[in-house]
């Protein structure tokens, strides 16, 4: 199978010696030894030892596409929940509309859902997001479900293989936020089947042959496939 080792590691587990190996994501070094800092899967690229987390709250990175839910509208900005340890701020200058001062509620209000991008993160993790991009907009209709953020890569698949299979067999429009949220638009049955597929991916994230099994699952009651 792939050389992506599916070995589960736990915090404090020794992974290799420096400088034979180098510490990548999710690791720390003590006395020239590289250790895992969290629950995850071991992934060695060149000589870099990385840990791909299996669990954990979403940790924002600049440039991430996220699905946010507006918490409150203030005079010059909105506070948005992006399922991170911190709420994100969306400033009036970061939206494609011309907004009069204190008119923010007319455009986005509590409970509205948006597809946004992480703009800046400062040293104390204060977050700013933006809607200034053709790909970013307010979401309407459809359904919103949450998933374990650490399985984002599995949901997308290598070269988007997994998400494409899901879209193909359910004929739903799907937007996957890196922050553990998915927006799905389609008929009720299609939406239900997307939710089932996501749930299966979550529970079988570190297994082999998952893409094939998801395809099998979706093929079963698919009506017609282009």
């Amino acid at each position: 199978m792939s050389n992506e080792g599916r070995q589960v590691v736990i915090p404090g587990q020794i992974l290799g010696e420096f400088p034979t190996f180098k510490p990548g994501r999710g690791t720390f070094v003590e006395n020239q030894k590289i250790y895992a800092e969290r629950l995850g899967v071991l992934n060695i690229q060149d000589t870099f030892i990385n840990i791909i987390p299996l669990k954990g709250r979403y940790d924002p990175i600049v440039g991430d596409f996220v699905i946010g839910v507006v918490e409150e509208a203030s005079a010059s900005h909105w506070m948005v929940d992006i399922n991170a340890p911190y709420p994100a701020m969306l400033h009036v200058h970061e939206v494609p509309w011309e907004i009069e001062f204190a008119d923010t509620e007319k455009y986005l209000n509590t409970g509205d859902t948006i597809l946004a991008k992480v703009l800046t993160i400062d040293e104390s993790k204060k977050l700013q997001i933006t809607l200034n991009d053709r790909n970013l907009f307010k979401l309407k209709g459809g359904h919103l479900i949450e998933f374990e953020p650490s399985v984002y890569r599995r949901i997308m698949g290598k070269k988007y293989s997994m998400i494409e299979i899901i879209q193909k067999y359910t004929r739903c429009r799907i937007k996957v936020g890196k922050n553990g949220r998915i927006w799905i638009d389609g008929d009720a049955e299609g939406i239900e089947r997307v939710a089932q597929a996501i749930s299966k991916i979550e529970s079988e994230a570190i297994t082999f042959g998952l893409t094939d099994r998801i395809e099998e699952l979706l093929k079963k009651d698919a009506k017609d496939v282009r």
């Binding site: 999710g26 800092e37 969290r38 079988e204």
Partner: protein, 244 residues
């Protein structure tokens, strides 16, 4: 008089049949709750402990936020029905103290610098109590933190040793805790041996202390293996079953 009660016989057999270095039976299960970010259910002798972890999440109220790292808040609570004589719900002074020493132990081991202004909340509920609940609580908390994906230097583990009828033993049971001569609960980072929690009451000579301390550390290492197995059962082996 305390030492009148026979807790261990001349052959070293304790009232519950254990030898001086035997730990009570422990069972650990990770990821048992739905809402919490991480959770763990643990049985240790007659103890039944459930731990839930939420976080990292924004620390509230604002003034408690530390701009450089996350706060780790453990809340140890005993259910009203967990003890022989019903306990009034709500924190009492003992629970507050135990919450504090456990919080401090966990703060040292969690990589808090990765989450400034955040809070990692550890809720420890004692559902059935039988001596050693703080050690059981901290041990379960270690597993719940892993299950929540919290980055840590190591997996904290705790165990107590004590002295009964003049002899140093491991993992005191209820009777032994009530009528014994000394109680020494400790928590360590098993990888480095660093002591994260240490309390003692009773009467130990310097040599007895060293003996009890070493015994407790040995206990911790044994229990550490059970913690790791619980996590592997949930994550590695569950996946293996799918592939069969």
């Amino acid at each position: 008089m305390k030492s009148d009660i026979k807790l261990i016989n001349n052959e070293g057999k304790r009232n519950d049949g254990r030898g001086p270095k035997d730990i009570r039976k422990i069972k650990i299960e990770a990821g048992v709750l739905h809402r919490a970010d991480g959770s763990c259910y643990l049985e240790w002798g007659g103890n039944k402990i459930l731990v839930a972890v939420y976080g990292p999440r924004e620390a509230v109220p604002r003034h408690t936020q530390n701009p450089l790292k996350a706060n780790v808040q453990a809340r140890y609570n005993m259910a009203a029905f967990s003890v022989e004589d019903r306990k009034r719900p709500g924190p009492d002074r003992r629970s507050v103290e135990i919450s504090k020493v456990i919080s401090e132990a966990l703060e040292k081991i969690v990589l808090t610098e990765q989450f400034p202004r955040a809070s990692i909340d550890v809720c420890i509920e004692v559902l059935d109590a039988e001596a050693g609940t703080r050690c059981a609580g901290l041990t379960a908390a270690g597993v719940a933190l892993i299950d929540a994906g919290i980055p840590m230097r190591d997996i904290p583990v705790a165990c107590a040793a004590g002295k009964i009828n003049g002899q140093v033993v491991l993992d005191l049971g209820k009777e032994e805790d009530n009528f014994g001569d000394a109680d020494l609960p400790i928590a360590i980072s098993p990888r480095t041996g660093e002591v994260l929690l240490l309390q003692m009451d009773g009467h130990l000579t310097y040599d007895e202390f060293n003996e009890a301390f070493d015994l407790a550390v040995q206990g911790c290492h044994k229990i550490s293996e059970i913690q790791k197995k619980a996590i592997m059962d949930k994550y590695q082996n569950a996946a293996a079953e799918v592939n069969e």
